[in-house]
């Protein structure tokens, strides 16, 4: 039983679960702010997934000459991914604020309706 829970509660499983929760939010929620949050949740899932790649419990940070160092590549990649994620979230939020000033709604469906009426 314990082995089963260890398997289920491992980092990569939780990472994929987070990704899927984010995807569910994108499909099921009409609120634009929640959409942006859901993209953030998916990103967190991906970051967790990368960090669990080749991870061992007793691995040391790969700084200088250490024995049993962790794999440095996923960590380097994820720093980049976090930076890009922050930038993307910022741009999306700015676009949303502009949209909110113009249409006054946070709802995808209502925004589409107003967009159609403008045509």
């Amino acid at each position: 039983m314990e082995a089963f829970f260890d398997r289920i509660l491992s980092g990569d499983m939780i990472a994929v679960a987070l990704f899927m929760i984010g995807l569910y939010g994108l499909i099921a929620r009409r609120n634009i702010v929640k959409t942006i949050i859901c993209v953030g949740v998916m990103e967190m899932g991906i970051i967790l997934f990368f960090l669990t790649i080749h991870a061992k419990p007793d691995a040391k940070p790969p700084i200088g000459e250490v024995a049993r160092a962790a794999d440095p590549i996923p960590q380097a990649l994820m720093i980049t991914a976090i930076v890009i994620g922050v930038a993307v979230t910022a741009v999306a939020l700015v676009m949303f604020i502009e949209l909110y000033h113009k249409y006054g709604t946070t709802n995808w469906k209502k925004a589409r309706q107003m967009r159609r009426e403008e045509n």
């Binding site: 990704f19 995807l23 499909i27 993209v39 997934f49 990649l77 993307v88 403008e118 045509n119």
Partner: protein, 530 residues
């Protein structure tokens, strides 16, 4: 050497942005000429080499980022530089062409080149993600509220797609321990299909979204046909930027080919995409949306060519080049027509040939190119796509797609004739006329010297027999006659077509269709993988 191509435009763009020069427009043009000359040099250098040119950035051995340039890549680089040069020439007199626009445009150019050049999966992800953000900003450049909605949908959809791509990279790295595409293709030979099925489904969902496969194409017409974007932005998105996606598809297909092969599936998807594109296009009344939906249709055709392999694949690669030329010409022409007539409704624009003869002739060359008329560039690439190992069903589908394209452009070409409702004055700078005429000549040259061009560019000798080429020309003429009759007899009587209907999904539905595409890929792969 290759990295200069990526760094120099961004660096100079930043310089232009920070230190505002008086002659910034002319300087930007000079920069573009230098970049084009440099890509020409790279093409000449690479075509003389036996093996592809590779370059590692940073001396970290296997950890460093690899750039990879073979002949096809160098042609795409040259195409990108050439089109950007003509776009920069085109916008010289426009008021929105300021230093911010130059900075965004130059950065986008570098990133498109990086998508073509990079051999590192994560690096490709970075390039696509940042260029998505830049395209989102360019779409809403004029602060039109309709473009705000379109830009937001474009940005969020593409970012969700790229997250799928990134998770796929994670699975691949865990399994193979490398990020280099060509190294991974070598490791794929020892992997079984079920091992790499999950990353395959994740990556192909992201890439399929970028090349606007049928269920997940909704973002493309929004982004490419939005009213607020300058026509130059639509041209760059539709002519060049989607080509990054389709070239990524080609490379991912080749990378996974030893382990997992789903050409039949993507052939069917290409046929569905190609058909859906023109069916929706023919019912639009917005001039830019018609062109945007035709991009989807032609992408379907390219996908068919890639999935068929062999000679068809060369046809598809040549069609990528051709489509870039005539689609940018169509969008630039449409932009000028919209500026002159102050309407985007295709039923209200009449008599373009009388008011703007030069633009009309150039646009007609592009229309002949996209419909595959004899002697124009589209005919050569479409001939090659059909010349591979093709079954009867795919052949009929290609004929139908081309027939639909002709039908839709019969409707489009009605704008040239008749009389305008109100008198219009056209004042088009000579420099813009020069650009469209140049692109129009390129459409014709790509057809007349088609085989020579293909041999020169790709080093591949196409086999075009005169007899079957004449046969294809006859088919084109028959399709044109049929299209004309069908349009005037049937479609003009059908009222619905004048209203303009569209399948416009909400953001939630787009996300659901992305998830659906992922599920279908996974299920189909599970059933067929060995």
């Amino acid at each position: 050497m290759l990295y200069l191509l990526l760094l120099v435009p961004i660096a100079i763009g930043i310089c232009f942005y920070i230190f505002s020069f008086k002659q910034v427009r002319i300087l930007a043009l000079g920069l573009q000429s230098i970049v084009f000359a440099f890509t020409l040099y790279i093409f000449l250098h690479v075509s003389g080499l036996e093996t592809p040119l590779t370059e590692a950035i940073g001396n970290w051995g296997p950890l460093s980022i690899q750039l990879y340039c073979d002949r096809v890549v160098s042609v795409f680089l040259m195409l990108t530089a050439m089109l950007f040069l003509s776009f920069f020439t085109f916008v010289q007199r426009k008021d929105y062409f300021n230093r911010l626009f130059i900075f965004l445009f130059a950065t986008l150019q570098s990133l498109i080149m990086l998508i073509f050049l990079s051999a590192d999966l994560f690096n490709i992800f970075v390039a696509v993600e940042i260029s998505t953000v830049i395209c989102g900003i360019l779409i809403m450049y004029k602060h039109d509220s309709r473009s705000l909605y379109d830009g937001l949908v474009y940005l969020m959809t593409n970012i969700v797609g790229m997250l799928f791509f990134l998770l796929g990279i994670g699975f691949l790295y865990r399994h193979f321990g490398t990020l280099n595409i060509y190294q991974m293709a070598a490791y794929m030979r020892d992997a079984s299909g079920k091992d790499v099925l999950l990353p395959f489904a994740f990556i192909m969902t992201g890439v399929g979204l970028k090349c606007a496969l049928m269920p997940v194409f909704s973002w493309l017409p929004k982004a490419h046909g939005t009213p607020g974007a300058p026509s130059i932005v639509s041209a760059v998105l539709s002519a060049l930027y989607v080509k990054g996606g389709i070239y990524l598809f080609l490379r991912m297909r080749d990378m996974f080919a030893p382990a997992i092969e789903m050409d039949g599936f993507f052939l069917a998807m290409g046929i569905i995409t190609g058909m859906a594109g023109w069916i929706i296009a023919v019912s639009q009344k917005d001039i830019k949306l018609i062109l945007a939906y035709h991009t989807i249709s032609q992408l379907g055709l390219i996908l068919i060519g890639i999935s068929l392999g062999g000679a068809s694949q060369w046809g598809a690669v040549y069609h990528i080049v051709n489509h870039a030329v005539f689609k940018s010409l169509l969008f630039l022409g449409a932009g000028m027509i919209v500026d002159t007539y102050h309407t985007r409704n295709i039923y209200k624009i009449r008599g373009v040939f009388r008011t703007m003869p030069v633009v009309s002739i150039a646009t007609m060359a592009a229309i002949l190119g996209i419909t595959g008329a004899p002697l124009f560039n589209g005919s050569i690439s479409k001939y090659l796509i059909q010349s591979g190992e093709i079954n009867r069903a795919a052949e009929i589908a290609i004929l139908l797609i081309n027939g639909g394209t002709i039908l839709s452009f019969v409707k489009y070409s009605h704008i040239f004739f008749g009389n305008p409702e109100e008198p219009v004055v056209s004042s088009i700078p000579i420099i813009q006329k020069g650009v469209v005429i140049g692109l129009g000549v390129l459409c014709l040259a790509g057809g007349v010297w088609g085989t020579g061009f293909i041999r020169l560019l790709f080093g591949y000798a196409p086999n075009i027999s005169p007899l079957s080429y004449v046969w294809k020309c006859l088919i084109w003429i028959v399709s044109l006659a049929l299209g004309y009759i069908l349009y005037t007899m049937v479609l003009t009587k059908w009222n619905k077509i004048h209203q303009g209907f569209s399948i416009e999904l909400t953001f939630n539905q787009i996300c659901a269709s992305i998830a659906g595409l992922f599920a279908v890929l996974l299920a189909y792969g599970w059933l067929t993988a060995a």
